[in-house]
C-alpha cells in the first residue's frame, strides 16, 4: 500500500508502505526478549539493596543455595578485576570498574535498588524466594540525594577515589567540570539593556518503556556463548558483557530480540552479563526479566538537575550575553549528560558572549542512562523559558525573537565548526504559519506557549549487506535493532536504489555474527548512518547487477540502468549492439547470476560523517484550572527539520512520541525519594506517564532542509522532539495564569502553590492600594 509521493524524484522514498514486521506484531507472533524459552532453561532473579548508601560488610549465600531448585548464586566475587579508568568498549567510553560495580555491587551499595547478587533457579518464584534468603550485613551511610547536598563541603562521599583536581585533589562528589566560553561576558552584560537571572530545578525521570529489561544467557561447554535480549545495540551488549564477565568478545553472539521501547535506556547492560555469568556457572540457559519496580529502581533514569541562567538582551530583542551554571545528577557513578546539556542549551541562538559551566555530580540514585536527547530537555526548560521572558520584556512575539537570534547556515556552534545547511528558522516559520498558531484561544485560563529544541544527532558506525535472491527480489541486512519502524525505511532505501517494489525487499535485523559491527540504535542515527550504509550497499548491489546485465548483453556497465523492476539500456540507440535488447526483468536477470559470476551481495560499512543536527519547534495550548493547578492540553503542534522523510508516517511517529514524553516530563513525571533515599514510586501508578486521555491529537509539520552530508538528505529525527515540550508548557502556563514555573514537573500541587502565592501577592497589593 503506497501513499502520496510528495515529490516526483523518488518512487518509494516518501511513501508510506506497511512495515514488513507489522503483521507479526499485530497478531502477537513477534518475539520480544521475554518471549524466548529454551529447553532446560533456568530463571534468574536479582537481590537489590534496600539502602541508598551503605558499606557491604558481608554477603552469606549458603541458605539461598540450600533452597531446593536453586542452582547458583553469584556476587561481585564471581566477576574478574576491573580497571578504574576510561576505556573504549566498542564505541562507548566507559569506566570498566564502574560498569562492573553497577552490575553487581563491590564493597558499597550506592542506591536503593543497586544489584548485589543474582540467583538462578528452576522457577522465577523460587529464585525470588532464594534472594530473600541471602544475608547481607550493611553499614548504612548518609544518603546524598541531590546536587545541592552532594556539592556541599562536608557531604558524604560516594567514591573515595574521586578527586577534585580544581580543589587541591580533595575527595569530591563532583566527577567533572566542563566549561565553554566565547567572547567577553562582562562586556556583553554591560551592553545589555536588561538582564534576567533565573534558577531551575528539574526532577529525575525515566524513559518509561513499556517492556522491562530482559536477557537469556546461554554459555556452552565449549566456551561459546549466546545472549538473547531486547536491546538497542547488540554489539554494545557483546562488548560490555564481555568486559564485565571476562569472556572474550569473539566468543559471544548477541541476538537482538524485538524491543519494546528503549529511548536510550536499553543502550547499556544490566541483566545480560548476569544471565551469562549464571549460565556459565550452571551450564543451563538462564532467563532474567526485570519487574517494573526493578526497572524504576535498578535501570538508568535520566538526571535531575539544577540550572542557573543569566541572560542579557537589548530592548529590541538581541541576546548579547549568557551565563549558565548547570549541575546534573549522574546517579551512583559519573557520566551524566551535562556536557551535552551544556552544548544544547543555547545552541539555537547566535550569542556572541557566553560562558557555560557544567558539573557532573554523583548522588545515591541509579546510574543515569541515556534518555532521548540526553541532557537537552533539562537545558531547554531553563533556556527556553528565559528566552520567553526576554520576548515578553521586549514586547516581541516569541517566535519572532527566536527568528531574530536564530542560527542559520554559517552560524557558529557552541563547539565545532559553523552550521552547514539547517532548518531551524524553517521550523519556527512552520509553527508561525500553522493553523494552530493562527487560531485564537477561546476561554479564560488558557494560554499558548512556544519553545524550541536542538540535538546534535550522531553518526558512528554501521554495516549493511544487500543480497539478491534467486527470484530477483532482495534482502537488506543491518545490525540496527528496530525500535520505531526503521527496518521499513531500510527496505525503502534499498528498493529505491534497486528500482524494485518495497514489498520485494525483506529487511532483517541481524545478530552480531551475521552483520558487520554496528553501533547502537540511538542518537537519531539509524536512518542517517545505517541508512547511509544501506544506500551504499544497495548501490554496490546495483552496480553488480548492471555489470551482469552488461555481460549478458555484451555492452558496457555504464550503458545499463535499473528501472522499475528491470535492467535496461539507458539509450539503446546510442549503444553498439543495442538493438533487440529489451529491458530484462530482475527476475530474469537473477536466473543468469550463477553463470555470470555467482551470487550478488552488496556490502557497505560506514563511520558516518556529515551528521546533520536536528531542530524542533513546539507550540502548545493549555487550559489551567486555577483552583487545582491541573493542566489540560488543548492543542499541540510540533515542527521539525528532518532533512528528508524516508517514511513520513514513522517520522511523524517520532515527532509525536517525543512530544508526548516531553509533556509527561513537564507535567507529572518524577522520582520521589524519601529522606532515607528510598524510592517511593516504584510502579506506574505513581510514576505518572501520560495516558491516551491526557493528550490531544498531536499535529506535525515535517520540514525538509536537506542535510548536505547524506546522499538522501536525511537528518536524524528520533530525539529532538522531546526537548521543547516542558518549556513550551511552562510558557503556555504563564500566559494562562500568569505564573512562571521554574521546576519540573509542573504538577498540580506545585502549580497551585505558585498560583495561590501570586493571588495572595495581588490581594496584598490591591489592599494596599485601597
Amino acid at each position: 500500500m503506497e501513499g502520496t509521493n510528495s515529490n516526483g524524484k523518488f518512487k518509494v522514498i516518501g511513501t508510506r508502505p506497511i512495515r514488513h514486521d507489522g503483521v507479526d506484531k499485530v497478531i502477537g507472533r513477534a518475539k520480544y526478549g521475554a518471549d524466548y524459552a529454551f529447553p532446560g532453561m533456568l530463571h534468574g532473579k536479582v537481590l537489590r539493596s534496600p539502602h541508598a548508601h551503605a558499606k557491604i560488610k558481608s554477603i552469606k549465600t549458603a541458605k539461598a543455595l540450600k533452597l531446593p531448585g536453586v542452582k547458583a548464586v553469584v556476587t561481585a566475587a564471581d566477576l574478574p578485576q576491573a580497571d578504574d579508568k576510561i576505556e573504549q568498549a566498542g564505541e562507548m567510553a566507559i569506566n570498566p570498574r564502574h560498569l562492573s560495580m553497577n552490575i553487581l555491587a563491590h564493597d558499597k551499595v550506592l542506591y536503593d535498588g543497586h544489584a548485589i547478587a543474582a540467583v538462578a533457579a528452576t522457577s522465577p518464584h523460587i529464585a525470588e524466594e532464594a534472594c530473600k534468603l541471602i544475608e547481607v550485613e550493611y553499614e548504612v551511610l548518609p544518603p546524598v540525594m541531590t546536587v545541592d547536598v552532594a556539592m556541599k563541603p562536608g557531604a558524604a562521599i560516594l567514591h573515595p577515589t574521586l578527586r577534585n583536581r580544581e580543589e587541591g585533589d580533595k575527595q569530591t562528589n563532583v566527577a567533572n567540570h566542563i566549561q565553554f566560553k566565547r567572547g567577553d561576558l562582562e562586556a556583553g552584560f554591560k551592553a545589555a539593556d536588561f538582564v534576567i537571572e533565573r534558577e531551575f530545578n528539574t526532577a529525575m525521570v525515566h524513559q518509561g518503556y513499556i517492556e522491562p529489561h530482559n536477557a537469556v544467557g546461554i554459555y556452552n561447554a565449549d566456551g561459546q556463548a549466546t545472549i538473547y535480549c531486547s536491546t538497542q545495540g547488540a554489539f554494545d551488549v557483546r562488548s560490555l558483557s564481555a568486559q564485565v564477565v571476562g569472556v572474550p568478545v569473539g566468543k559471544i553472539k548477541v541476538v537482538p530480540a524485538e524491543i519494546g521501547g528503549g529511548f536510550g535506556g536499553k543502550t547499556t547492560v544490566y541483566l545480560e552479563p548476569l544471565s551469562l555469568l549464571l549460565s556459565k556457572k550452571t551450564g543451563h540457559p538462564v532467563k532474567m526479566v526485570m519487574t517494573r519496580s526493578e526497572v524504576l529502581r535498578g535501570s538508568g533514569p535520566t538526571s535531575g538537575s539544577k540550572i542557573k541562567v543569566k541572560m542579557g538582551a537589548t530592548k529590541d530583542g538581541k541576546i548579547v550575553a549568557a551565563e549558565v551554571w548547570m549541575a546534573y545528577e549522574a546517579g551512583a557513578f559519573p557520566g551524566s549528560p551535562v556536557g551535552a546539556g551544556a552544548m544544547c542549551i543555547l545552541a539555537p541562538y547566535t550569542i556572541e558572549n557566553l560562558q557555560i559551566d557544567a558539573y557532573d555530580v554523583v548522588v545515591n540514585r541509579p546510574k543515569t542512562a541515556a534518555y532521548r536527547a540526553p541532557g537537552a530537555t533539562n537545558a531547554a526548560m531553563a533556556g527556553e523559558t528565559v528566552i520567553d521572558e526576554i520576548a515578553e520584556r521586549c514586547g516581541i512575539d516569541p517566535i519572532e525573537l527566536r527568528v531574530q537570534n536564530g542560527v542559520k547556515e554559517g552560524s557558529p556552534q557552541v563547539v565545532g565548526p559553523p552550521f552547514k545547511a539547517i532548518g531551524f528558522i524553517e521550523t519556527l516559520d512552520a509553527i508561525r504559519n500553522s493553523d494552530h498558531y493562527k487560531s485564537k484561544l477561546s476561554g479564560p485560563n488558557q494560554g499558548r506557549g512556544v519553545a524550541t529544541g536542538f540535538w546534535f544527532n550522531a553518526g558512528m558506525q554501521s554495516s549493511a549487506t544487500v543480497n539478491i535472491h534467486t527470484d530477483g527480489t532482495a534482502s537488506v541486512v543491518t545490525g540496527s535493532p528496530d525500535i520505531g519502524g526503521s527496518r521499513a525505511s531500510m527496505a525503502m532505501i534499498t528498493a529505491e536504489v534497486l528500482g524494485i517494489p518495497v514489498t520485494d525487499v525483506r529487511p532483517l535485523v541481524a545478530d552480531t555474527d551475521s552483520i558487520g559491527h554496528t553501533d547502537v540504535t540511538g542518537g537519531s542515527r539509524v536512518t542517517f548512518a545505517t541508512g547511509m550504509a544501506v544506500y551504499e550497499a544497495a548501490q554496490d548491489a546495483a552496480r553488480q547487477l548492471r555489470e551482469r546485465a552488461a555481460k549478458v548483453w555484451e555492452v558496457k556497465p555504464d550503458d545499463v540502468e535499473l528501472h522499475d523492476g528491470s535492467v535496461r539500456l539507458k539509450d539503446p540507440a546510442s549503444v553498439e549492439k543495442g538493438e533487440g535488447k529489451p529491458p530484462m526483468s530482475m527476475k530474469e536477470l537473477a536466473t543468469k547470476l550463477a553463470r555470470t559470476g555467482g551470487p550478488i551481495i552488496g556490502r557497505a560499512s560506514v563511520n558516518a560523517r556529515g551528521v546533520g543536527p536536528a531542530f524542533a519547534t513546539t507550540c502548545v495550548d493549555v487550559e489551567v484550572d486555577p483552583d487545582t493547578g491541573k493542566v489540560q492540553i488543548l492543542r499541540c503542534t510540533v515542527a521539525q527539520d528532518v532533512g528528508k522523510a524516508i517514511h513520513p508516517s514513522y517520522v511523524e511517529g517520532q515527532m509525536q512520541g517525543g512530544t508526548a514524553q516531553g509533556i509527561g516530563w513537564g507535567l507529572n513525571e518524577e522520582y520521589f525519594y524519601d529522606d532515607k533515599g528510598i524510592l517511593r514510586n516504584t510502579g506506574l501508578l505513581d510514576y505518572r506517564m501520560p495516558t491516551c486521555l491526557d493528550l490531544p491529537l498531536i499535529e506535525t509539520a515535517i520540514v525538509e532542509v536537506a542535510n548536505p552530508g547524506h546522499p538522501l538528505g536525511v537528518r536524524g529525527v528520533g530525539e529532538v522532539s522531546i526537548v521543547p515540550p516542558p518549556a513550551a508548557l511552562a510558557n503556555a502556563i504563564y500566559r494562562a495564569v500568569g505564573v512562571r514555573m521554574s521546576e519540573t514537573p509542573m504538577s498540580p500541587p506545585r502549580l497551585l502553590k505558585e498560583i495561590l502565592k501570586k493571588r495572595a501577592t495581588e490581594e496584598t497589593h490591591s489592599a494596599a492600594a485601597d
Binding site: G28, A34, V289, P690
Partner: protein, 166 residues
Amino acid sequence: MSKKTLVEVNINGEEVEFLCEPRQSLLECLRDVLEMTGSKEGCLTGDCGACSVLIDGRAVCSCLMLGVEAQGKEIRTVEGLADGNTLHPLQQKFLEHASLQCGICTPGFLMSATALLERNPNPTEAEIRYALAGNLCRCTGYDKIVRAVLDAAKSMKSGVRTSRAA
C-alpha cells in the same frame, strides 16, 4: 508448592485445558504454560494494560486475574483476533496508520479497542480515549492509535474485512 488445578477455558474459540498453581496469574498461564506470548507483561499492577485480554467480551488485565479464576470463561487474546489469514480491521488499520512503533503495547490496545468497538461501533474521539486510558503507549503519543480506531470503526460499519496486509 501448591497442588496444580486443571482449568478448562475457551480461548479464541477453542476449548483448552491447562494445569496451574493457584498463585499463577492468567497472564503467566497464557505466556508460560500455554506458550501464548502475544499478551505482554509491562507492570504486573494493572497500570499499563499490556496484558489486556477479553474475558466474556470485557477487557481485563490478565496480570490481575488468577489462572484458576478463568475456569469456564471465554477468553480472547490477540492471537485470535485475525480470522485465519484475514486480519481484523483494527489490525489492518493499525498497520496502515503506523499506529505501532515498538509494538509491545499493540496487543493490549487491539484487545481494548476490540471490546470498545463491539460495544460502541461508532465512538467519538473522546470515547475512544476514555476506553483506551488503561493502555499505556510510550512510543506513539497515541495519535495514530486513535486515528486507527476511528478508521476501523468506519470500515467495520461498512462490513469490510480485509485480507492480510499487502
